[in-house]
């Protein structure tokens, strides 16, 4: 059975990049550097499972995973900007939202943000979007 990892990643990253009003995104294995003092998002697509969705011959594969994001805004300037951006992302990637790729649909199961942390000149807010995907 062919793997759809590439298409799933493309679908999720396209959906993320299409959210209006969010800062630049640094995708995986990128040479893009952050600019000091400029908000940005680090993105990682994690694949946590690929197994048959049903029993029997030629079952369709179900993919599970987490889209891990880290939103970074300048340290020491309050939480309002981060909260606004987190709301934008969570609204766009709310539970049961479908993102349609080529022969694949990625659906979000949950999306949430954890507490912000001040590190290295940034206020970092981790965001997780739990997703699963089926071939169409």
């Amino acid at each position: 059975m062919p793997s759809h990892r590439k298409e799933i990643r493309k679908t999720l990253e396209t959906a993320l990049a299409g959210i209006s009003g969010i800062p630049d995104i640094i995708f995986e294995n990128s040479t893009k550097d952050p600019t000091k003092g400029v908000p940005h998002i680090i993105s990682q697509v994690m694949f946590t499972g690929r197994e048959p969705a049903v029993r029997g011959t030629n079952p369709q594969q179900r993919y599970d995973g987490i889209l891990r994001l880290e939103l970074k805004v300048p340290e020491g300037k309050g939480t309002a900007q981060a909260d606004t951006l987190v709301d934008l992302i969570l609204d766009a990637m709310d539970a049961t939202t479908d993102f349609v790729g080529t022969n694949i649909v990625v659906r979000t199961d949950e999306s949430y943000a954890n507490d912000g942390v001040m590190v290295g000149g940034w206020y970092s807010v981790p965001i997780s979007v739990i997703w699963y995907a089926y071939k169409t």
Partner: protein, 146 residues
């Protein structure tokens, strides 16, 4: 009497299944908490300011009975681990889901990457010396021992 024992065996089997399911669910939530709270980019005061993405999160491991931790970690400087590849963020969840009930009698989460301590509590070059406290926050969240 034989009839009663058979019913009890069935009930115990059901209880076992429920316990295993709930235990796996809890462990997956713990693993997911470690993933959720892990920084994606370790940069701090790196000379070129570039992110060393993924090294810390990829170094999370879960040890279960019969499948101990390797004690190695990935360095963000590109050095490879010297023994069996560890689980990484995603691998922890797969290992838990595929483990037997007996293997789950002993479970330990760890991160042995060279910068694990700095990520947890902050380092001398980190402004304000704040860390991410990934393991402490997860331990507090689930009431488990660190």
């Amino acid at each position: 009497m034989a009839r009663t024992l058979n019913i009890m065996a069935d009930v115990m089997s059901e209880v076992d299944t429920v316990v295993e399911t709930q235990l796996k669910s809890l462990l997956v939530r713990i693993a997911r908490s470690l993933i959720d709270l892990s920084p994606l980019g370790i940069h701090a005061d790196a000379p070129n300011g570039r992110y060393a993405t993924g090294a810390y999160i990829a170094s999370h491991e879960v040890s279960i009975l019969g499948n101990p931790s390797t004690g190695q970690g990935i360095s963000s400087k590109g050095r490879k681990p010297q023994s069996v590849p560890h689980d990484g963020g995603s691998g922890m969840i797969n290992k838990i889901k595929n483990a037997t009930k007996e293997q789950l009698m002993y479970v330990r989460f760890s991160n042995n990457s060279p910068h694990a301590d700095i990520v947890e509590t902050g380092g001398p070059n980190w402004r304000r010396r704040k860390g991410y406290h990934v393991y402490k926050r997860t331990a507090d969240r689930f009431g488990v021992q660190q």
